[in-house]
């Protein structure tokens, strides 16, 4: 039963994880890790519609990943006799199988551990998270596919061996041990049942619900956010129009008031020409307002109302009518995400903005003042803050 839940749930976590990679624009070499050989999802242009795409896909990846932890642990508990089987290796086949199981079990636990530490900002492991989680994911995918290919018939026969609903009606006192199974997983001398099968399933389901309930709040705005009691994004950092959560503070990015003050200029470049605008000139251009979610790879998200200049209007001002891509650079000098390249659809979309205001007021410095990019369904870290230059390119890649 736990196997069936994982057979449905884990592929969703895997696919949303690979979608996350695709969302970062691997065609521009800006998905991490960069060099992945042939272990990559098929290339496609990440869409800008629906605007909740990344919020939902990445929210699912993180929340479902956490919700499935009790199921994974229950599954491991149910097969633990295998670990202590003696003698440990009887044949070449068994040696290969045990190695594959190490990849399966090590893989899922490695992904859970690194993922949990990443979403909670505790990099205890001392290696690059992106590299480890990406390749760890592929090791797990391969082991998972092997395991399903070999064990699916076994799962189906086990589920068919007893009437499921009748089992669920039994209390602990009527619960009888299973007959000995070919895999030797049934206890040879079981004690009296202390939990019914219904109870065991309810317990694991309940624990999953508890974890889900303690996590899902990080994707909401308003009082419900507090329900993510133990998560880093379980509270609103402030009040007012700029009171929503920040990803990377201005202080951490080394962006100061002086560099964002009246001396700040936006430089637009296209085909060897540059145009420079100050904030007043930007505010004098036609303004567009859009209410869009912004979502982080860590699974949390928020929805705000952004106002600013359409990126396609800026492309026109720069003299790049139909740009193939645009490289946006931040005032931030160091840092992995101090620049991001946007696809054509991400520049030309009607709601793709260089935002100057949020919820009717100027952006706070931590939210990217004087100007930041907001593109629907684009991962939060690619919605570059403290924008300094936008370089429009008319040929792809370049």
């Amino acid at each position: 039963m736990f196997g069936l839940v994982l057979l449905i749930g884990l592929p969703i976590v895997i696919i949303t994880g690979l979608l996350d990679y695709a969302a970062y624009g691997p065609q521009f070499g800006q998905a991490l890790p960069r060099d992945v050989g042939w272990l990559r999802p098929p290339p496609f242009e990440w869409p800008t519609r629906p605007d909740w795409l990344f919020r939902v896909s990445q929210g699912l990846h993180v929340i479902l990943g956490i919700v499935l932890v009790p199921v994974v642990l229950a599954k491991l508990w149910s097969v633990i006799p295998k670990l202590f089987a003696w003698p440990p290796v009887r044949s070449t086949a068994q040696l290969l199988e045990r190695l594959s199981l190490l990849l399966l079990v090590g893989g899922i636990l490695f992904q859970i551990a690194t993922g949990l530490l990443n979403v909670q900002y505790a990099y205890l492991f001392g290696f690059d998270f992106y590299t480890a989680h990406y390749f760890g994911g592929w090791v797990f995918i391969a082991a998972f596919v092997s395991h399903v290919a070999l064990k699916l018939p076994r799962m189906i026969s086990a589920l068919r061996s007893r009437p499921f609903l009748a089992e669920l009606r039994q209390g602990p006192d009527d619960t009888r041990p299973e007959p000995p199974d070919p895999d030797g997983l049934v206890a040879p001398r079981p004690g009296p049942a202390t939990v019914s099968r219904r109870g065991a399933l309810t317990l694991v389901g309940g624990l999953s619900l508890l974890l889900g309930g303690l996590t899902v709040g990080q994707t909401t705005d308003g009082p419900l956010r507090r329900t993510a009691l133990l998560m880093p994004r379980g509270r609103q950092p402030g009040t007012g129009p700029n009171g929503f959560p920040v990803n990377r503070s201005a202080a951490a990015a080394g962006v100061t008031q002086e560099r964002t003050g009246p001396g700040w200029r936006l430089t637009l470049a296209a085909a060897g020409r540059t145009v420079t605008l100050d904030r007043q000139q930007l505010l004098a251009l036609p303004q567009h307002t859009a209410t869009l979610p912004i979502a982080c790879v860590e699974g949390w998200s928020t929805r705000q109302t952004w106002t600013g200049v359409r990126l396609r209007d800026l492309a026109a001002i720069a003299g790049a009518g139909e740009p193939a891509s645009a490289l946006v650079r931040s005032l931030e000098r160091a840092g992995l995400f101090n620049q991001a390249q946007l696809q054509s659809n991400q520049i030309l979309g009607p709601d793709s903005l260089l935002a100057l205001k949020v919820n009717g007021v100027d952006l706070a410095l931590d939210h990217g003042y004087p100007a930041r990019v907001i593109v629907p369904a684009l991962p939060g870290v690619h919605c570059t803050k403290w924008v300094a230059t936008i370089d429009f390119r008319t040929t792809a890649g370049g």
Binding site: G37, L39, I66, V69, L76, I80, R90, T92, A93, Q94, L96, E97, S100, L102, L103, V105, G106, G107, L109, F110, I112, A113, T114, L116, L117, Q120, Y121, A122, Y123, L124, F125, F127, T131, G136, V139, I141, A143, V145, S146, A149, L150, D173, P192, T194, G199, L203, G206, L207, L210, L214, L229, L230, M231, P232, P237, P245, S249, A250, A251, A252
Partner: protein
């Protein structure tokens, strides 16, 4: 499965599908291992990968099953009922204890306030230790479980059992 074992089965120990599928999975892992071998932290990644399995199988599992065995022994020694048909307290302790252990493991960085520097850089906030919040959660879980136990005992008594 009902076919008589062929030469592969006797020499290898299983069928062709088993061989192909396992070799396929191991090949992907081998390719990844070769690719990561040049990483500066390759050793640590391997350590965490194998360590995750060991930590579960040889630390976490003995710990929770040992705690469960201890709890049952304690209840027997204290004369708690294990008779069929009676309300038993065992699961009313097991369930909140399991939930407490699980939430502690999952939300460990927040509860212990780990990674203060990265947390502040990311959120712009000081990391508060959430131990108090977690202890409150655990207290609520045990309290709810206790109330359910009391209701079950009371109901059983009223129905004259």
């Amino acid at each position: 499965m009902a076919r008589p074992p062929g030469r592969l089965a006797t020499g290898y120990g299983s069928g062709l599908l088993h061989l192909v599928v396992n070799v396929g999975g191991l090949t992907v892992a081998g390719w990844v291992a070769l690719r990561l071998a040049d990483e500066p932290a390759a050793g640590r990644i391997l350590l965490w990968f194998v360590g995750a399995a060991i930590a579960h199988d040889l630390v976490l599992f003995p710990l929770y099953s040992g705690a469960d065995a201890g709890l049952r022994r304690l209840l027997r020694a204290s004369g708690a009922t294990t008779a069929p048909g009676r309300v038993r307290i065992l699961n009313h302790i097991r369930v909140p204890a399991l939930a407490a252990g699980l939430t502690f493991l999952i939300y460990l960085p927040g509860i212990l306030g780990l990674g203060k520097v990265t947390y502040q850089a990311a959120t712009g906030q000081h990391r508060q230790q959430l131990l108090g919040e977690w202890l409150t959660l655990v207290a609520v879980l045990f309290a709810v479980s206790g109330v359910v136990y009391a209701v079950r005992v009371g109901r059983r008594a009223r129905h004259g059992d």
